[in-house]
């Protein structure tokens, strides 16, 4: 809940310092642009990983998002909130990448790497890895739009209205995508867990 609240704040109201950084970056100050990257890199990379389910592609997508931001900075209005714009660009970019790419087989390996430094014992790590594989497989059952709506609402903590703004859709459509997505994930997970049990 805390994460969601902080994201909401970031989405709707950004501190004046960000606008100052944007102004400086527009004037050609590279270090100000680097500070903007540092402020949003976690959000952008995390969202890309959740949408693409492929860490390598997600890194490329995150880089591309910031390069696009840099190239379009001249036209960016300083009083606009940056976070919604970054969300939208990331979602659109990942959508295009997904359409063009083939399914990846490296997901499980990457998540296994993420367990390397955790404090879990080997059995717990294996259990967590299985859960992650299960969730990833469940997310792959969704259509791209359903996955985008679920990731933005359930993982990024945006409200339905904010998700609708990012996806340039109506709240009703987004609500429908979210409910369908949740039901599909639930059915997939329950079916897999039932099989394992």
């Amino acid at each position: 809940m805390e994460m969601a609240v902080s994201l909401m704040c970031q989405f709707t109201a950004e501190p004046g310092s960000i606008h100052r950084l944007i102004r400086k970056a527009k004037a050609g100050d590279v270090s100000s642009f680097e500070q903007i990257v540092m402020l949003y890199e976690r959000t952008v990379l995390r969202l890309a990983r959740r949408l693409l389910l492929d860490p390598e592609m997600a890194r490329d997508a995150a880089q591309e998002v910031f390069l696009r931001l840099h190239s379009k900075l001249g036209k960016f209005q300083e009083d606009r909130a940056l976070a919604p714009w970054l969300y939208r660009i990331t979602v659109n970019l990942c959508h295009d990448l997904q359409r063009r790419s083939k399914p990846s087989l490296v997901v499980a390996l990457d998540f296994a790497e993420s367990l390397r430094d955790s404090a879990l014992n080997p059995e717990q790590s294996v259990a967590l890895l299985q859960q992650q594989e299960l969730v990833i497989a469940a997310l792959k059952e969704l259509t791209p739009r359903e996955r985008e709506a679920i990731v933005l609402r359930d993982l990024e903590g945006l409200s339905t209205a904010e998700v609708a703004r990012v996806l340039r859709s109506s709240e009703g459509t987004v609500r429908s995508q979210i409910s369908t997505g949740r039901v599909k994930i639930k059915r997939f997970v329950m079916a897999q867990l039932g099989r394992q049990a």
Partner: protein, 187 residues
Amino acid sequence: MNGHVREELLALYLRNDLPEKDHGRVARHANDCPECQRTLADLSRSYELLARSFADPDQHDLVSVRRAVMRQIHAGRQGHRVWGLAAAAVVLLTVAFVLAWQGERQEPLAVARLPRPSPPAVILLTRPFEVSTAPVVRAPHKRIEPGIRTATLVTETGEPAYLKMKTSDPNVVILWQLQENEKVATP
């Protein structure tokens, strides 16, 4: 509410995504319906599994993304600088070339300012020759006008008199046939 609540509605109810009036209706039904409670529990379990499964990107990934972005931005700026220098060099070369070309053209222009030889190279004789018995008189060479170096009156027996003018161009000689009553002043 008759029967069970649809799974899609329960999925929205789970995280308060239903409008307020629908939320209240679903809540009242779910409180008394064990099957809807089971469905809600399954939905909740799968949601928690989803929320737990994605760790934040680690610092190493973040730094690698940032470095790659900044490297490309610096490379782009250097690229712009190189292109700028290249464009400036092209402009300078073009200006130098144009100046050199105009410098070469200046010599012919100086030549072109010299007076053009205006008289025709050949004057056709249209009238039939008349027999003249006058002796040949050769007028002394005299410069008559610019461009014409010498003029010689030639009168030969049996031939019409004519004025032979040599110009500054050795290849151009003007032969001017005189009229019958035309006289040439000689010094």
